[in-house]
Symmetry: none
Subunit: 200 residues, 4 copies
DNA sequence: TATGAATGAGAGTTCATTCAT
DNA sequence: TATGAATGAACTCTCATTCAT
């Protein structure tokens, strides 16, 4: 402890700033997100922010990155796990479930990130998620290719991911009057029909 | 709009402002969209903006409305036309085609609207489009219900529209390396599989 | 009529503008008094205002002048009439009454003129009123000088007018909870005591 | 005030702003009083104003408050002191003197405040002053009521204060050609006559 | 290192006035 | 003469960033 007192303190300050940034984003929205607000929320002075972050954008960047990495991690984990341990519609259901769960986990931040931030801000992080899931899906499709009716696993994976993601996203954010279970069922049906599986 | 322009000159000015607004949006992006920039781009003085528009937001509103009305009009027209004149996969293909075409028509503005504006700005307009298409789709599903394998046309229509929209949107904006024809084919397969049609 | 059709129309327009100016002043207050508003209220175009008035100030000037001339006329008339036809406290009461009546006649405009306009705007007009009343008062004092206990009619007249005016003005505008009759009585007592008259 | 300045530097800045506000008011008048002018006069940037003042009005408010508090303090102090230590005309003279002195102390600012500001801006502050003096006067009248010839101390005090205030104010601002001594004498006579005292 | 005072460019907006029609 | 579109300087206010302490 003695060795790195300032480093430990620094790290704590950085965390305080990031958490404050997250809160300000959720509470006040993106348009009123300002370095001064973040500084106040973090209990430090505006000048001190610049000891740890080069500018406003870099605070945002990290808050955003963390969020999407979280979602990505969770979803990919579920996918890796379920896809290998099961096949057919049970596997599909597990993945869809993981996707919903990933997005449901912090809807307040999700809303701000997807509805208030310029999408370009999320772009790279979000693309990374999509690609990751897409590649895993493609691999999975190739593996169980016997039943597949689509010719190109790449494009099929892309279509699936893009379609599923939006269904999950809109359901979480817009809360249309359909129960989670029903939406999950439809997502499975959509995927299974597309891939040529029989839905029981 | 503040004043209803009666003279030809003022109607021309309003058009110049709106077109300038569109250009500034495309060229400079949403974050730097400012009344002064619009005025310069329109070749008028800042004060003149306020003869016809109550504030910055109302200029944006109209630029946005016009865009989505355009897309909505085109897509719905195609849907109404094609869906009635054909059935099965040809009809589905027509609708997917209309959707793609609608979004392809002004991709630069589409990009700014969907990627840079806070989604809340598009929200109502966009929701109107989605609802319109969803209701048409639901009606269509009910009509040809014989072949339908899904239990609830409402939720099925919603899932379809949300899924299709994102596939079309991401393809237009992200330009993944898949030819239009192939994507269209996948969209049809996705829909047909979901609805239980046989894909020839 | 034929000879001066435009002149007659002009005159009517000028009147419309002045009346509109008065109304805008009363309804919207001085701070939001603008040439555009006046033009709208007068039912003419902003450009036309400048056919008849050189600028915003000159409209205001005339509205103000008219008001104070009105008050001045009424009060002076009463003073001239009453002061000659009676003497002692009855005359004083008449004058005070005239003063109150003059200010009571258009309190809405009075309020705006005295409370919202920079006093400098009223200055000359108001000074004219004060001087007029002061001179009449001085003359009156000189005439009935037998009873007078003050040495200099000029200063005495000035003090009287300034004091009375404010009592009347504040009573009309601030509406303190004293009946008109009582205030009148006090004004008479104040004057009579000052001039050395016996109050019955 | 937005922020409570803690450092000596910032307290100095606040003072500089207020003094600059006072100067701009005196030099340029109320109509051209602008935050930019104040900032320039204070030798600071426009943004710095807003560290300590929420808006333009709040700067004005404090400049105005300070002025009237000063006048009020001085006048009331004189009144409290003199009125108790003496009686009859000497006491009256002291009060009138205090009133004149209070208003004479910063005539340039007094002029702007009373002649250029919408009266509503001074209203509360000014009313506070009037009420304070009126109540002190009423109390004084009740105390020495033996000689009083007026029935209601409240209304009498109000009339006195309103009348006296205007005599003093107009003398300070309009500088009529009467020596201070003479005006004081008349004020005493006016009051004494009104209250039924004998003027020596 | 931490502070918080200070910065200043640039934002949105108004309105008295001008001028082409 | 009358119109109303157009002007543009000036306004109030914000906030990412810097810098003296």
């Amino acid at each position: 402890m003695r060795k790195t007192p300032t480093q430990a303190r620094s790290r704590a300050t950085v965390e305080r700033i990031l958490e404050a940034g997250r809160q300000v984003l959720i509470d006040d929205g993106y348009e009123t997100f300002s370095t001064n607000r973040v500084a106040v929320a973090a209990g430090i002075s505006p000048g001190s922010l610049y000891q740890y972050f080069s500018d406003k954008a870099s605070i945002l960047d990290i808050v955003i990155s963390r969020y999407w990495e979280d979602v990505s991690e969770r979803t990919a984990a579920a996918l890796a796990l379920q896809a290998s341990s099961s096949t057919g519609t049970p596997a599909i259901r597990s993945v869809a479930d993981a996707l919903l769960a990933g997005l449901e986990q912090d809807p307040a931040l999700l809303r701000v990130l997807t509805e208030e931030l310029p999408a370009s801000r999320n772009r790279d992080r979000h693309a990374a998620l999509v690609n990751r899931v897409r590649d895993l899906t493609a691999a999975y499709l190739r593996a169980g290719s016997d039943a597949m009716t689509r010719p190109d696993p790449q494009i099929t994976a892309w279509v699936l991911v893009v379609a599923m993601e939006n269904v999950a996203l809109r359901w979480v954010l817009d809360r249309p009057p359909y129960p989670r279970e029903a939406v999950l069922e439809e997502m499975v049906a959509l995927t299974a029909g597309y891939l040529g599986h029989a839905t029981s």
